[in-house]
Every structure is written in C-alpha cells, then in structure tokens.
C-alpha cells in the first residue's frame, strides 16, 4: 500500500503548517488565547481518543491534567524549581499515578470502567479541593503561580501570548507525532481490535490489559504535560478546572469529531472549539446548542464527522454498483 506512509505525514505537515502560520494572520490576544487553548485541547482529545479506540471511556482523563498542574505549580512555587524542569516532572508524576489508577480501573470494562473512572476523577477533584488546604489551596485554589522563566540556554522570554502559543503548539506537535505514529503502526491496528472483539484479540496474542494500560498511561502523560502548561499560563488553579464540566467537553469534542480515526478529534476540537467561541455570546443557549448537537450526532452519525465522507463515498459506490447490476440485468432479460 504505497500511500499508507504518506497520509500521516501529509496530515501532520498540514497541522504543523497551519499552527505555525496562524500568527501571520492574527496577533490579536483573544485569538491567540483561543488558539492556545485549542492546541492544549487537541493534545487532550487525541489522547482520549487513543483510549476510546480500545473501548475505554476514561472520565478521569482530565484528572491527570490536574495532577500535572498541581505538581508543577507546587514544585515551582514551594521548591523553586524551574518550569522547564517541572514540565517534565509533572508529566512523569501524572504517568506514575496513571500506572497505579489504570492498573486498578482497567480490571473492569464497559460501563463499569466508565463509572469507576468517573469515581476516580471525583476522588481526585475532591482531594485537591478539600484536603491539605495549605498545600493545594482548598476551595479557593492556588493563585499567583508564575509564568515560565526564560528558556534556558537561549534566554528567550516565554511570557507573552505569542510565545506561550508557540510553546503549547510545540508540545502539541510533539504529542501529535507520537499519536499519529502509533495510529499507523501495529499498536494502533491492534488497539481498535480490543474494542471490536477483545477476547479474539487476546487469543491472537494481544495482551489486552497491557495494551489498554499503555494507552491509559500515554494519554495521562500528555495530559500531565498539558496541565503543567495550563497552570503556568493561567497563573491560577482551581479544582473545578478538572471536574466533570471540562471533561464532558473533551468527550464531546472527541466523539463528535469521530473516534474511528486519529484525525477525528482534530476535526472535532477545532470545529467545535471555534463554534464554542461564537456560541459563548449566547450564554445559556451555548450549553443548549452543544447538548443538542451532541445528541443529534450520536443518534444520526455516531461515528462522528470524520466518518461522514467515507459513508457518503460508500453510499455513492453502492448506488453505482446497483445501477450497473440493473443495467446488466436489463441486457440479459429475455
């Protein structure tokens, strides 16, 4: 299959180009904010989607963002480490927690897994919200978290909107390389089989538990990275940033985009991310519209937007073969 290697490279190149070129079209602070958030959400939804391809709906995904955020914030403010170190430490801590939580949660599957991951997410949120208040700030959260210090070695300041955007973009592109590579490798090929028929996959030599755990830990590592970035760009941290609301939004982006392909969440996050900005002015109507869109998509296009072109193509091809068959039939009729 000659084009198999080309597609991911082309897709990635397009993403990277679009991301890098964006500031050429606008330097508006608000636009850059939206783009930065979008890049962060893209990292999160791509990871979530990798997990969903194995059949897991991981409601605790956002919790690992929170773990990364609190880890980095505390290491910078209390221990005095540099952001450039805590960024990776936060990712590591999130990954380590993911190994623990994942090993427990992945013992069950289906709706039970969804519920246990939801329980874990609430435990984490309540933990940060109510316990060790002098460390985590309690219900008021943490404030005054410093922006990243200038990039060591190059001495580049990373405090402005533009620099922060590029930082998040680079982090996202790094994550995207990993996710796209995996998707087009045996790892990605096998991941979806776990969702389709996990017993068959297991008897064919796939260690289903380990595979699921790998997707869980990888997604959580990237989430931890995103969390560290989030806390130092926003400078305030509150446990509601990692609660059900933002998690559901991630699920919506991923599902509406489509979980069947690594590009699904890209489509969903970008399109809906833009839509949300327009809808925001509508106040409560925003939630209403999003909810309606989610329901309609799941009822009529459950495979998401990314699957629509394929479906249309198949419908057209089916109609063409039917026409051809009829034509042959007419020719053979006595």
């Amino acid at each position: 299959m000659p084009s198999a290697a080309a597609r991911p490279a082309v897709g990635f190149a397009l993403l990277a180009l679009a991301g890098l070129a964006l500031p050429l079209f606008t330097r508006d602070a608000y636009h850059l904010d939206v783009a930065t958030t979008m890049a962060m959400n893209l990292s999160l939804t791509m990871g979530l989607r990798l997990q969903m391809s194995t059949g897991q709906i991981n409601m605790a995904h956002i919790s690992f963002m929170g773990i990364g955020a609190y880890t980095s914030a505390l290491l910078v403010t209390r221990v005095g480490l540099s952001f450039w170190a805590t960024l990776w430490i936060a990712a590591g801590v999130a990954a380590a927690c993911a190994v623990l939580i994942g090993s427990l949660a992945l013992r069950v599957s289906g709706p039970y897994y969804f519920l246990i991951s939801f329980a874990f997410s609430e435990v984490v949120r309540l933990f940060f919200n109510n316990f060790f208040e002098d460390l985590f700030g309690g219900p008021s959260g943490l404030v005054g978290i410093p922006k990243p210090t200038p990039l060591p070695g190059l001495g580049l300041a990373v405090e402005g909107k533009l620099e922060l955007y590029y930082l998040m973009l680079v982090l996202f592109l790094l994550a995207a390389v990993v996710f796209i590579r995996l998707e087009y490798s045996r790892f990605g090929l096998v991941a979806s089989t776990i969702r389709q028929a996990d017993l068959l996959a297991e008897t064919l030599g796939v260690n289903v538990f380990r595979h699921k755990l790998a997707t869980f830990v990888l997604g959580s590592l990237v989430a931890g990275l995103a969390g560290a970035f989030f806390v130092h760009s926003h400078q305030v941290l509150h446990s509601s940033d990692f609660g059900l609301e933002p998690m559901v939004l991630l699920v919506v982006f991923t599902v509406i985009g489509g979980t069947g392909s690594v590009w699904g969440p890209v489509v969903g996050t970008i399109l809906l991310g833009v839509a949300v900005e327009f809808l925001r002015q509508l106040g409560h109507y925003e939630t209403l519209v999003l909810g309606g869109v989610l329901m309609l998509t799941m009822l009529f296009a459950p495979e998401g937007l990314i699957a629509l072109p394929g479906k249309v193509a198949r419908r057209v091809r089916h109609r063409r073969t039917r026409k051809a068959a009829t034509a042959v039939g007419v020719g053979l009729a006595p």
């Binding site: 995996l182 045996r186 790892f187 090929l189 389709q196 017993l199 008897t203 030599g205 260690n207 289903v208």
Partner: protein, 240 residues
C-alpha cells in the same frame, strides 16, 4: 457444562477430533486450553511445559491458536486487516519500536504483510481482501477465521466447528485444506458435528459425554465402540 474427567493427549502432526453429543463439554475444553476459562483441577501441558493458568495471549505466544464457534471476527476491519492483526504473534513489537519504526519493526511488519497475502491467496480470499469482514458470505468468513488461526504461526491449531454451515462442496474443500496443513507439519485439534467429515480426516478421535471421556481411538475403533453408539443413540432415541 463442566468437564469432570478428561485425560487427552494430542500427538504432534496429527489431526485429532473431539466429538460428543450436545452439552458434552467440548466447548468447555476449547475454552480451557487457551486459558479463556480457568482450570480448577488438573493441568494442561504443551510441548512439555505447563500452560494452564496462563492468560490467553501467553498461550498463543507459546504456539496455540484457536477459532471460535460463532464466526468471531473484527467485523469493522477488512479481510486483509484481520489477517494482519492475527499475525501479531510473529510481529508484535512493544510500544517503543511501534513508535520509532525501527528496522526490526519494519522488517517484521513487511513479513507479516507478505504472510497475510500468501495465506489469503491459499484460502481463495485474495479477491475479497479489501472487503469489510462483516459483509462477507458465511463460507468466506469461515475461511477467514482459518486464515487468521494460521497467520499466528502456531504449531497447534484448535478449530471450533470448522464445517458448520458449509455446503458439501465447501466441506470437502476444507477437509482437503486440513490434510494439506497436516502434511506441512501442523497439529490440528477440532470439534465437529459432521461425522462423515470427522471420520474422514481425523487420525485420532476422543469422545466426550457429560463431561467425561468415554472413548478414544482411530475412527474405525470409535465407530465400532458400543459406548459411543449408545451415547449418541441414547440422546436421539430414549425409548428404543
């Protein structure tokens, strides 16, 4: 149905049949060997090593493949993709090499793809290689299931009703295919209800009834064994 008393050996390079009336425990045996069901008593050994207690992916790794009764396939994937996945035992890298696409990874993937193509050609599936597995007619699905079991490169292949739902011609083709596999050195254990096919292709047959082994031997010996006849006739004709 529980299996309570079974002692069975499958000899390398032979085709071994497992038969018995409905509910005899044949499916249970087929689930115990790959580790899908846990063994509560006794043990299972393969090539001299104990495999009972291992998870199914480990059992596959050791060299045992199985098919499922209902044609269990990856229905959303194409025929080619199904066989490619099944070659996992021979290809399987870890997360690391899947990320880096090292030379070893690429070499093994290439080998897996070639193996898949060869198998599809051998089983007359090359024409439908890009069709979605869920849309195939029954006989092609059966062939695909066999192709996947062979793709693992396992030395022992356990087939669960390979002839079910096939027309007479197709059954003969399958029988020929099995003989060919035996010639290549594969060991086959199968469960089947079609007695003609079983007697025609198996070297040894074990008969199970109500979870207990009641006979074992060549097809001729089994056909003449009174306990076997009674087990089958007893079910059909209780008043006789």
């Amino acid at each position: 149905m529980a299996v309570s008393d079974l002692s069975m050996s499958v000899i390398k390079g032979t085709i071994h049949g497992l038969i018995g009336p409905n509910g005899a425990g044949k499916s249970t045996v087929f689930n115990l060997i790959p580790g899908v069901l846990p063994l509560t008593q006794g043990e299972i050994r393969f090539k001299g090593e104990r495999i009972s207690g291992l998870r199914p992916s480990e059992v596959c790794r050791r060299g045992i493949a199985r098919t499922f009764q209902a044609t269990t396939l990856f229905r959303e994937y194409t025929v080619f993709q199904n066989v490619l996945v099944a070659a996992h035992r021979l290809a399987a890298p870890g997360l690391g090499s899947a990320l880096v696409w090292s030379r070893t990874y690429r070499g093994r993937e290439q080998a897996a793809r070639e193996r898949a193509r060869t198998l599809l050609a051998a089983l007359n599936l090359a024409a439908v290689a890009d069709e979605v597995a869920g849309s195939l007619p029954h006989r092609d699905q059966k062939a695909l299931v066999l192709a996947m079991a062979l793709a693992t490169g396992a030395e022992l292949v356990i087939l669960d009703e390979p002839m079910a739902g096939l027309a007479a011609q197709e059954k003969d083709a399958t029988t020929e295919a099995l003989r060919g596999l035996r010639r290549e050195g594969l060991t086959i254990l199968l469960v089947e209800h079609d007695m003609r096919a079983v007697m025609g292709v198996c070297d040894t047959i074990t008969v199970l009834d109500h979870g207990v082994r009641i006979a074992e031997g060549t097809p001729r010996e089994i056909q003449e064994n009174p306990a076997v006849i009674e087990a089958y006739l007893g079910v059909e004709d209780p008043g006789a």
